[in-house]
């Protein structure tokens, strides 16, 4: 499952939002309009703090360095995980180029980089499991850069 990283809310906005809304995570359906013009408090719009935040983080070729986009998204995940701790699995992957066992190592490097960043943000390391699939489980098929760039990734599950 790949979510695009189109929407970036600032970390502080998210944290603020979380504080305001975490007690009521369900989105209420909009109530039917009341005909009377009596002013009522507008119902709070509750949003998932991870709405629009990718749980897939992408990398350059033969690199395990987190991009600034990956760090932004991981920061949001870190805050959510600190608020509501759960066990997660970070699955590292590589594109098809180069040798398979080297790519296994590269996938692990990538998963470890994501783990280390989360831990640095205060997430309990015992909640994080990492695994590398190397190039064995591509997200996109095809032997061109647009497929390769989708396959050099870490998935947070």
């Amino acid at each position: 499952m790949i979510k695009s990283i189109k929407l970036f809310l600032s970390l502080f906005a998210i944290v603020g939002f979380l504080a305001a809304c975490s007690s009521n995570p369900e989105v209420e359906p909009t109530p039917t309009p009341v005909p009377t013009p009596v002013p009522t408090p507008t119902p709070e719009v509750v949003e998932d703090p991870l709405e629009g935040v990718s749980s897939v983080f992408y990398f350059e070729f033969d690199s395990a360095i987190l991009t600034s986009e990956a760090r932004s998204a991981l920061s949001v995940h870190a805050e959510v995980l600190k608020d509501e701790p759960r066990s997660i699995r970070l699955e590292g992957h590589a594109d098809e180029r180069g040798s398979r066992e080297y790519n296994m190592a590269l996938g692990e490097r990538r998963a470890n980089a994501a783990r280390d960043y989360l831990v640095l943000q205060g997430v309990d390391s015992s909640l994080i499991e990492t695994i590398s699939y190397g190039e064995e489980q591509p997200a996109a098929f095809g032997s061109y850069e647009s497929a390769w760039s989708q396959n050099r990734r870490v998935e947070l599950k």
Binding site: D62, E96, R97, G98, S99, R100, E101, Y102, M104, A105, L106, E108, R109, T130, I131, S132, Y133, G134, E136, Q137, G142, S143
Partner: protein
């Protein structure tokens, strides 16, 4: 049934030329490579692609359908021998239709019949039911003649059980090949590979087959990835990595009984197994302490010895033929390169210096050269390197090439590449003169592992 389909699908492709890496001429060489690559891609696999540069003349040889009362089997053996010799790239078997006579005994040979059609060597023989005391099966008496000198090179007998037609044929191919080239034949050897059906349960398969792809047999199938298959030197065991426990683990499987044993269960990577020359140990990769490092696992005692240290990626160990060293991939210098560690001293030496990506080394049987995955201008090829001089040359014109595995006679290597958007196996001779391809019937085929000789000399 599928066995025969697979056997026929090995295609003789092209004769290429050898390319030496020379910094001054890289661009023009790349252009040649790209041109050849485009040419190969546009040609259909069924066609033999002839590239006119560096072509050697294969030796014309006639494999006469063997005499005796077993026409069908005799014909089948002769055609398997012809296919074997042709695939080696060193021989050009003559079609039966071109043969002016079909002798099966020495006194029936008319050398003139063979000189006229330009044949240099002649193989004849007789196939009979094996004598009762030898068990049910076949006995083939076969003879090799040198047409130019008009002399008999050898007369040999081979026997096999009722379903040993292919074994008998490969023995003939081995003996003929060795008598003429001086190099031991590897037609009787086996290969392993991974097949990925890409859908369904048990989509990943570890397959064993004859060196020509025939008699494919599934050794293990799984819904989770399988990788890095490798042979023990006594051919009794295979080792590989399986994700069946939801994490990578190394398994050793007896290929005769089918029994399997998980030999590692460490946190992190458990990968790249390689049997030591005496089969008592496995070189493996573990990242239990953080970074991927090379370890040696004693198979019986399970004692673990750490070989490499440090925070860089060390992986893909391959034993030197004397068992005193291990060649491996490491990115300790910034990019993946090939290194050698001497086990007694722990001394590590870098072996590759050409290019910014050299990985997955395999040492040749004579210990003098290695092959590897090499990136040049963004394209991944298989390259060969003389260990002493450091001279490197690129062997393949395909791209996305990986997993080279050298035949036990050192004449050819198998590797994985892509063709028509599928993973396929391909072969190239160590001098880059001979190339052929094994297209997959279903899914992707990858990670070939060529077996050692069945009877070590």
């Amino acid at each position: 049934m599928s066995v025969r389909v697979l056997a026929n699908s090995w295609l003789v492709a092209n004769k290429g030329m050898m390319k030496k890496i020379n910094p001054a001429g890289l661009i023009s060489k790349l252009l040649i490579i790209l041109t050849l690559a485009c040419y190969s891609l546009s040609s259909q696999a069924e066609l033999a692609i002839e590239i006119t540069q560096g072509v050697q003349n294969p030796t014309p040889i006639a494999i006469v359908p063997f005499g005796g009362m077993l026409g069908k089997e005799a014909e089948e053996i002769a055609s398997i021998v012809s296919a074997d010799l042709q695939r080696s790239g060193l021989f050009r078997p003559i079609p039966r239709a071109d043969m002016l006579s079909l002798p099966s005994k020495e006194q029936d040979i008319s050398y003139r019949d063979w000189r006229i059609i330009g044949v240099n060597f002649l193989v004849i023989g007789e196939l009979t039911r094996a004598p009762a005391e030898a068990g049910a099966g076949f006995e083939l008496t076969y003879e090799l003649y040198d047409v130019i000198t008009q002399r008999k090179v050898f007369r040999k007998i081979t026997r096999g059980g009722g379903n040993a037609i292919r074994d008998i044929a490969h023995v003939v191919s081995d003996e003929v090949y060795e008598a003429i080239t001086g190099i031991r034949g590897a037609f009787s050897t086996k290969i392993l590979y991974i097949e990925d059906l890409k859908r369904g349960a048990k989509r990943y398969r570890l397959v064993k087959a004859d060196a020509d792809g025939a008699r494919a047999q599934i050794l293990f199938a799984s819904s989770e990835p399988l990788l890095s298959p490798t042979w023990s030197n006594d051919l009794q065991y295979v080792a590989y990595v399986s994700f069946e426990t939801s994490r990578p683990a190394i398994f050793v499987q007896n290929i005769v009984t089918g029994s399997r044993q998980q030999v590692t269960n460490y946190r992190g990577l458990n990968g790249a197994p390689a049997f030591s020359p005496d089969d008592s140990k496995l070189a493996i990769v573990l990242s239990k302490d953080g970074a991927p490092n090379i370890y040696i696992l004693d198979i019986v005692s399970r004692r673990l010895t750490q070989v490499t240290r440090g925070s860089s990626i060390d992986t893909e160990p391959n034993w030197t033929s004397d068992g005193k060293g291990i060649i491996f991939t490491s990115n300790r210098g910034g990019s993946p390169q090939i290194y050698q560690v001497t086990l007694a001293s722990g001394r590590i030496e870098r072996l590759t210096f050409e290019g910014d990506y050299n990985a997955r080394p395999r040492v040749s049987p004579d210990g003098k050269s290695l092959v590897m995955v090499h990136r040049e201008d963004g394209i991944f090829h298989i390259a060969w390197q003389d260990i002493k001089s450091g001279d490197m040359r690129i062997l393949t014109e395909t791209w996305l090439d990986e997993s080279p595995s050298i035949a036990p006679n050192g004449a050819m290597l198998l590797y994985a590449t892509q063709h028509n958007n599928k993973g396929v196996l391909a072969a190239v001779s160590m001098d880059a003169g001979v190339k052929f391809r094994l297209p997959s019937k279903q899914g992707d085929v990858r990670e070939p592992a060529w077996s050692p000789f069945i009877n070590q000399e």
